[in-house]
Structures are given as structure tokens and as C-alpha cells.
């Protein structure tokens, strides 16, 4: 529940952004991020909120960690707990599933 996940800002309005996470697009709130965010920036996100703009020089190293994690999980036979946490984070910006 304390794991942030990086994604690419593809659209912006005042209060939120559409962020691309490995092809999955989610809406992320910008209330908490502490510097201006632009389209093309990478942000680290937690429970549906961007918490940090990732400096350009750190983007590749940050993405590589997650990409390895997701790749190992795709190859493995069972879901990894850290990957499960990442997937929860991705679900945070999804429209709520409507249940009757």
C-alpha cells in the first residue's frame, strides 16, 4: 500500500491528468504533486494521485525496475505480491466498477 507506480502524462487538465501505464490509460489527480507537470513528463503515482514528477534523468532507471517486475510475473506461474500491489495502483485511476 506504499508502493508508487510510474506513468507517462499524455493529457492534462487543471486538476487531473491522463497517465499511460504500459499502454493502460488511467486518470490521476494532481492535487499532491509538488511541481508543475507537463504532457510528456513521468510521474510516480499512489492510490490515484501523482506524488512526484520523476526527473528526466531518473525515468529510465525507474521504469526498468517495474518492467522487469512485470516481465518476471508474466513468465512466472503465480502472481507476485509486489506485482499485485502494482496492479492495485493501476486500478486506482480506473472508473469504478458499478455493481448493482
Amino acid at each position: 500500500m506504499c508502493l508508487g507506480v510510474p506513468g507517462l502524462v499524455v493529457e492534462l487538465d487543471d486538476l487531473s491528468a491522463v497517465v499511460d501505464f504500459w499502454g493502460v490509460r488511467r486518470r490521476v489527480r494532481l492535487d499532491l504533486v509538488d511541481e508543475p507537470v507537463a504532457v510528456g513528463d513521468y510521474v510516480l503515482n499512489h492510490v490515484g494521485f501523482a506524488i512526484r514528477r520523476i526527473p528526466l534523468e531518473d525515468v529510465q532507471a525507474t521504469l526498468a525496475i517495474y518492467e522487469q517486475l512485470l516481465q518476471e510475473s508474466a513468465e512466472g506461474t503465480r502472481e507476485d505480491l509486489m506485482v499485485a500491489d502494482v496492479r492495485s495502483e493501476l486500478a486506482a485511476g480506473a472508473p469504478r466498477e458499478s455493481k448493482p
Binding site: 506504499c2 492510490v47 500491489d85 492495485s88 469504478r96
Partner: protein
């Protein structure tokens, strides 16, 4: 177990392993005991079998780093009672199965209560707006998650939305654990992503008071090894400072915008943490000016009705509290992997993906413990 050490850079892993062994030897006493306070650290340690690679003289104890696990019975009971009173309760998925005195929120759901699992507090606010139903958000997690709750409060809430805060603040519990006689912790690894918000500077008053080093660490296996080398070297050198070994993400000041929002909405109060008992300033409560969105003030929560139910025999045998306090390991528990499994957890530590029991169970039962007591 070493066959599972699949680092991208085995040479660097070997070099760090060697440096760690040397630093531990140079401390000159055994074991050197350090504590981490992050479920993601335990995930990486267990998944990569790191304990097998630690030198024999090093004890890496898992502390109260799982927010779901440290949420204690009274808070679960409040959410359970509200749900049974007919209020719609929204919360993070991990909270569903955590047992309270009379049952878990999943039990309340089975009994007809209306529980909604959300991945973000923003989704819970949307739910209130869309349905018009009275919604209580059962808010759990450390400061990293509490800032999101603060943000929605400050952004303006619909009248039918309130917050039952079980948010917790990590630095105060480190003070308690540092003074617990049986743990003898000589230094802490602090969680990298939590420190994005607070900054590594939040630990400076702690190290000044307790003369114990704190190293902020990332959650990759090599990050953890590198941070442990630094921590043990600081113990060896009597260097009671804060080192930031995760500068890619963490600054000394942290995210000031998020901190300001956090403290405009919340204040610290003392409260119970599972296994640690009372932690002064360890809980985050809504400030008085937000009383109108505080579920504890909006509703009369009748937990007394739950109190005549004694916890089951199994729950009384559960060691989750001692595991959170760093004085027991999952393998010490008679229920671990037998009566208590992820599908039917007896205690909170088997529920959450950050719970020590769940992590050990996932990654092959009992990891090789190297130097553990």
C-alpha cells in the same frame, strides 16, 4: 535458496554481499540487529531469498511496516459496527478480510452489510456523488496514503461522505520500537516511497533522540543490500545520522505540498497499533475544523455491542502482534500455513500483501533465516 538470487547485476550483488559481510564483522559483536518498516522491503527480501545471502551475524527484523496489519481491533470494530448499522462503508481491498472482535468487513458483507472496495479514496468520493448514499470511507494506511485522503477533504466533499480515519504515522512508532527491550534494534531501514512525502529529514529528530542511524532505502534487492551495507557501516562508526540511499526518489525536504495538505487536515493523536500497544502521536485524526466530515462525530458508533463476543481460540493463538513488534517470526506461530493461510487468514499479517506471514507463505514458507535468533 541462492538459486533464486536472480539479480540483473550479479557482480554488484556479490560485491555488496562481500561489503555487508565485512561491515558486520567490523562491528565486532553478534548479532547486529536492524529493522525495516516496510512491507515492500520484506516482499523483496523474501522473494529473492535475501536472508540466505545475509551474513550470519546480521539480523534483519521486520517491524510494523504493514499498515493493514497494524490497524488494531478497535478500528476494525468501528468500521464493522457502522456497516452493521446499515451505513455503506468503502475501503481499500486489503481491509476486507482483517478480523475484528466480532468479524471482518467481509463477514459484515456476508451478513448483508454494504461494503465497497475501492483502490483510491477518489473512487469512494465518486461513489458518494453517483449514488447519493451516505458513504463512510474507512481510511487506512501510512502518511503516503493519508495525503490522498487529505487531498479529497481539501478539494471539497459531498455532504453524504465522511471519513473514519485509521491512518497512521510511521516516525512515532519507530521511537517506541527503538526502546523495546527485547528487540535491541541498532538501526532502521526506512521505506523509500513513504519518504517521498515526508522527506528523509523527518527522521532527523528521531536519530538525535535515540542515537540510532536511519537509512532510506529503495525496494529493489540491490537497493536493499546497498542500504544495509550503509546502515551497518554507520553502526560500526557510531554515525547516528540519516542517510538517503534512494536519492532517485527521495529528497531531504520531501513533498512540501503534500505535507501541507496532510497537516491541514490531520493531527497526530496517540492510539493503539496491533502488537505495539499505545503509540503516542502514532495515529492521524481529522482536525476539529473537519469535524463535519469525521464519521466518529457524525455517527454514534456502537462498538459495545461487539464487546461481549470473545475472540475465537484461533484468534487468541495468533502471533501477528508479536510479529509486528519484531519479537516473533511467522515460523514461531503454530497456525502459520496450517489453520492460517491467505484464503482463510486468522490474523491481519496473513491478509495483506505487505503482511509478513502472507509474504513468507507466498515465497516458500520459511525463508532461510541466516542469522536469525
Amino acid at each position: 535458496m541462492t538459486g533464486r538470487l536472480e539479480f540483473r547485476d550479479p557482480d554488484r550483488a556479490r560485491a555488496l554481499g562481500g561489503a555487508l559481510e565485512q561491515a558486520v564483522a567490523e562491528v565486532g559483536r553478534s548479532p547486529v540487529a536492524v529493522m525495516h518498516v516496510c512491507g515492500s522491503h520484506e516482499q523483496a527480501i523474501a522473494k529473492f531469498g535475501l536472508r540466505a545471502a545475509f551474513p550470519r551475524g546480521l539480523d534483519v527484523i521486520m517491524g510494523p511496516g504493514c499498515p493493514v496489519c497494524v490497524t488494531d481491533l478497535p478500528e476494525i470494530d468501528e468500521a464493522f459496527a457502522l456497516a452493521m448499522q446499515g451505513v455503506r462503508v468503502a475501503t481499500y481491498g486489503d481491509m476486507l478480510k482483517v478480523p475484528g472482535t466480532a468479524g471482518s468487513l467481509a463477514d459484515a458483507q456476508a451478513a448483508g452489510a454494504h461494503i465497497d472496495v475501492v483502490y483510491s479514496v477518489a473512487q469512494a468520493v465518486d461513489l458518494a456523488r453517483e449514488t447519493g448514499d451516505e458513504i463512510v470511507f474507512f481510511a487506512t494506511g501510512f502518511e503516503t496514503t493519508a495525503v490522498a485522503t487529505a487531498a479529497v477533504v481539501l478539494a471539497g466533499l459531498p455532504a453524504n461522505f465522511s471519513v473514519l480515519s485509521a491512518h497512521k504515522f510511521i516516525p512515532p512508532v519507530m521511537e517506541i520500537v527503538a526502546e523495546m527491550p527485547h528487540t535491541r534494534v541498532e538501526g532502521f531501514l526506512a521505506a523509500g516511497h513513504a519518504a517521498i512525502i515526508t522527506g528523509s529529514g523527518v527522521f532527523e529528530p528521531f536519530v538525535a533522540r535515540h542515537h540510532l542511524p536511519v537509512v532510506v532505502a529503495g525496494f529493489e534487492p540491490l537497493d536493499i543490500l546497498a542500504a544495509l551495507v550503509k546502515l551497518v557501516q554507520m553502526i560500526r562508526d557510531d554515525d547516528h545520522g540519516v542517510a538517503n540511499m534512494f536519492p532517485r526518489c527521495v529528497t531531504r525536504e520531501g513533498n512540501r505540498n503534500a505535507q501541507q495538505q496532510l497537516w491541514r487536515v490531520f493531527q497526530t493523536v496517540g492510539g493503539r497499533w496491533r502488537g505495539i500497544a499505545h503509540v503516542p502521536n502514532g495515529n492521524l485524526r481529522l482536525r476539529d475544523e473537519w469535524a463535519h466530515v469525521d464519521a466518529r462525530r457524525r455517527f454514534t458508533i456502537d462498538v459495545a455491542a461487539l464487546c461481549d463476543r470473545a475472540p475465537s481460540t484461533l484468534v487468541r493463538q495468533c502471533l501477528c502482534g508479536n510479529i509486528m513488534a519484531g519479537i516473533a517470526q511467522p515460523s514461531d506461530c503454530a497456525l502459520f500455513g496450517k489453520e492460517c493461510v491467505p484464503e482463510s487468514p486468522v490474523g491481519a499479517c496473513m491478509v495483506s500483501s505487505e503482511g509478513t506471514c502472507r509474504i513468507w507463505h507466498q515465497y516458500g514458507g520459511v525463508p532461510n533465516l541466516g542469522a536469525s535468533a
